[in-house]
């Protein structure tokens, strides 16, 4: 096809006009939230059970047109972009657990769920989880989806070989404290050549922090990462290094896969959702795993929320949908479909969650997860926790991997934290 000069000009003009019009259209006639029947729900792949979402669509079909969209990629930045842009904001939005603290200072962008009668449902949910969705001004921003109780995944055959306790009940009891767990690690190392009870020491630090009631920054915006409760966790991780309990293997490489399959890394401290990863990564090890309590007590990693944004025009309807989606029955379904561990203790007693799991040698894993989830301590999660916890995490990694002197590492972490705190307006 030959383009004439006139044709080219016309195409150019049309393009310009389209661009200009497009610009105008996005400037004024924007669907800000729901209009009439439309109700948009944003979540991420695996964030909700697909079965339950489908059922919700059918159930609320007469009242609203529920449009549940899975958002890929970096979820949080996409959500805050639409919220800041005030265009195409979803009515209901999933908020990831690790981002929750950063949404709370902006509670005014969300509907206070207390005004919709959330308090009546409070007793059905884990209290510590409920508290995490509460903003500093007392309003309820997030409605609990799931939690991530930390347990010890282990291979009983290897523990038995090392002369350690190997039945889940015994392991939970005889490795109940960190000291017992470390002692078991030393015995394992002695009896089974090349085996380590820990992949790295960062997990010791991380789980220990989760077992406490304080983190790095308190409610008064004051840095507390230099205090005793953090120092104890730090020293515990350093101790694991000193006693040579951690391997030098990098997670995710063929090394770690091979070592796990051959029983050289027979133990993992991780959240309940890690069961799904184990099944996916090590299908050959089916039946060779068990679940026991995490040494030192329960801890939590991950777990998300649903919130209603200010853009929603029918908050009552949205709240009805949320509470139905996250009722004990549907939470149980979420655990079966997507490994979302329920935040509703009533689900733990349901028969479908008490089935034996062949991957874990027909163990009823709920017996370990359930009680752990109920005993997780409540800790205040500051929006500055990520920024001020990072230098400490980085330095414990340097101690673990590079063998940096722990005292120097602690000093470096603290001086960096003070600088960052000062910059962020956090008092030290």
């Amino acid at each position: 096809m030959r383009l004439s000069r006139r044709g080219l000009l016309r195409a150019g003009l049309a393009g310009t006009a389209a661009t200009a019009l497009g610009g105008l259209a996005s400037g004024c006639a924007v669907p800000n939230g729901s209009t009439g029947r439309n109700m948009v729900l944003w979540y991420w792949s695996g964030g909700l059970s697909d079965t339950v979402v489908k059922k919700a669509k059918a159930r609320y079909d007469d009242a609203v047109d529920l449009d549940a969209i899975q958002i890929g990629g970096y979820y949080r930045s996409k959500l805050i972009t639409t919220m800041t842009g005030q265009a195409h904001v979803p009515d209901i939005a999933g908020l990831k657990g690790e981002d929750m603290a950063s949404y709370l200072p902006n509670a005014d962008q969300f509907v206070d769920l207390r005004t919709l009668g959330a308090e009546k449902l409070k007793s059905q949910y884990l209290d510590w989880k409920w508290q995490q969705g509460v903003a500093p001004d007392g309003s309820l921003v997030g409605f609990p989806i799931d939690v991530g109780p930390v347990v010890q995944f282990y291979q009983p055959a290897v523990y038995e070989k090392a002369g350690l306790a190997h039945e889940p009940k015994d392991v939970s009891k005889e490795m109940g404290t960190w000291e017992q767990f470390f002692a078991a690690g030393e015995q394992l190392k002695k009896r089974v050549r090349g085996a380590f009870i820990l992949t790295d020491i960062t997990s010791v630090f991380e789980m220990s922090i989760g077992q406490g009631t304080e983190r790095f920054v308190n409610r008064d915006k004051h840095f507390i990462g230099d205090q005793e409760h953090v120092r104890v966790c730090w020293d515990r991780a350093v101790e694991a290094k000193r006693r040579g309990l951690a391997s030098s293997i990098v997670t995710g490489t063929p090394d770690s896969i091979s070592a796990t399959e051959s029983g050289k890394l027979p133990s993992q401290l991780n959240a309940s959702w890690n069961a799904g990863d184990l099944k996916l990564q090590y299908p050959k090890t089916k039946g060779r795993w068990r679940v026991a309590n995490c040494p030192g007590g329960p801890s939590n990693v991950g777990g998300s929320f649903l919130a209603i944004t200010k853009a929603c025009r029918e908050p009552e309807k949205a709240f009805e949908i949320i509470t139905w989606l996250l009722g004990p029955d549907n939470q149980a379904q979420g655990f079966i479909d997507a490994g979302l561990f329920p935040s509703t203790p009533a689900s733990y007693e349901m028969r479908k969650l008490r089935e034996s799991d062949p991957f874990f040698g027909d163990q009823i894993t709920m017996d370990v997860y359930g009680p752990a989830a109920e005993k997780i301590p409540v800790a205040f999660n500051s929006p500055y926790d990520v920024a001020l916890g990072q230098p400490i995490r980085d330095e414990i990694k340097n101690v673990g991997v590079l063998g940096k002197n722990p005292e120097n590492a602690w000093k470096d972490a603290m001086s960096k934290c003070r600088r960052i705190a000062d910059h962020l307006g956090v008092s030290t």
């Binding site: 950063s102 990098v250 990520v386 920024a387």
Partner: protein, 320 residues
């Protein structure tokens, strides 16, 4: 004077086509400007305005959702004394150097060999280009396996020749070498194709003359090929500087660790944390959009400095 005879007035400008009237100036070309305007309008909307906004942002504190708070120059003052930012510049430059010089060397050899090879030339060209179009994420995952300590290909080769294992992804220098190797692998073929294009512009008579004067292959290479390839070499250097200073996905995927840790920390001792990775961590991990914008402008300055150095190199060539 006012009584100038009307008859002496110049003829009415009917003969002159209206488009050439000088007084209409730029406006007379409005159709042409309109025709090329879509790009500029899109650039304005999606390029220039965000750039301007990021400058505005760098003078504020902002968590991405709430209200912005004016912070004056404090973000920049912090940037200047931020050792993490400076070390990320250092990392970027070291990785760039480790990747670029072997890459140019290998690409040149490959191109010279391709230029003299006769059979399957197109197959080779295709094969050399392939690494460049492969997804960086996929490549980084494979390289993670290649550089793993106990079962990695590199350590297997080292042990085969009687050397010790190296914990590539667990030591500061190992990390840098691993990232640089990945980048070299990715870009060698691409640059070889560009070198090949350059080699083919060198007239054959020069080589014939050299041969008649008794020059060997080495002499021919250094006296004829290399001097005439200089503009191509500079082009390759500029392109590799631009891509090297932007490296982000390579360290991010290669060094991503467990869910408890940031994927932007760049491994032990931040050895693989490049400038862009640092920018990303500050902005999206810490929700510090104001400081993130300041870091982005810091990166911009570094790139400007390097562009000036490149430009000076090209200028000097012009003076020769």
């Amino acid at each position: 004077m006012a009584t100038a005879p009307l008859v002496e007035r110049p003829p009415a400008p009917v003969a002159e086509p209206p488009a050439y009237r000088p007084k209409k100036g730029v406006l007379s070309y409005w159709r042409l400007y309109a025709a090329i305007s879509p790009f500029y309008l899109l650039f304005l909307a999606f390029g220039l305005i965000p750039v301007g906004f990021s400058l505005y942002l760098s003078f504020h504190r902002w968590d991405g959702l709430g209200s912005m708070e004016y912070a004056g120059l404090s973000q920049y003052r912090y940037l200047l004394t931020d050792t993490d930012f400076w070390s990320s510049i250092g990392n970027t430059l070291i990785i760039w150097a480790l990747a670029t010089f072997p890459m140019i060397f290998l690409a040149m050899i490959t191109a010279v060999m391709l230029n003299s090879a006769v059979r399957f030339k197109n197959v080779y060209r295709f094969a050399y280009f392939l690494p460049n179009v492969t997804s960086v994420v996929a490549v980084a995952i494979i390289f993670g396996s290649v550089f793993s300590t106990n079962f990695g290909l590199v350590n297997a080769l080292l042990q085969a020749v009687g050397l010790d294992q190296i914990a590539w992804l667990n030591t500061p220098w190992g990390i840098k070498v691993a990232i640089a190797t990945l980048m070299t692998w990715q870009w060698t073929g691409y640059n070889a194709i560009i070198f090949l294009a350059g080699l083919q512009t060198i007239p054959g008579e020069l080589y014939e003359a050299a041969r008649m004067d008794g020059a060997g292959p080495v002499q021919t290479f250094f006296r004829i090929t290399l001097p005439l390839m200089r503009p191509v070499l500079l082009f390759v250097l500029v392109i590799s500087t631009v891509t090297g200073l932007q490296s982000f996905s390579e360290p991010q995927v290669l060094l991503q660790s467990t869910a408890n840790e940031s994927t932007f920390s760049g491994g032990p001792d931040h050895a693989g944390r490049t400038m862009v990775l640092y920018f990303f961590q500050q902005t999206f991990d810490n929700n510090d959009f104001g400081y993130g914008a300041a870091v982005a402008w810091g990166i911009f300055l570094v790139v400007v400095i390097f562009s000036i150095i490149n430009w000076r190199l090209v200028q000097r060539r012009g003076e020769d």
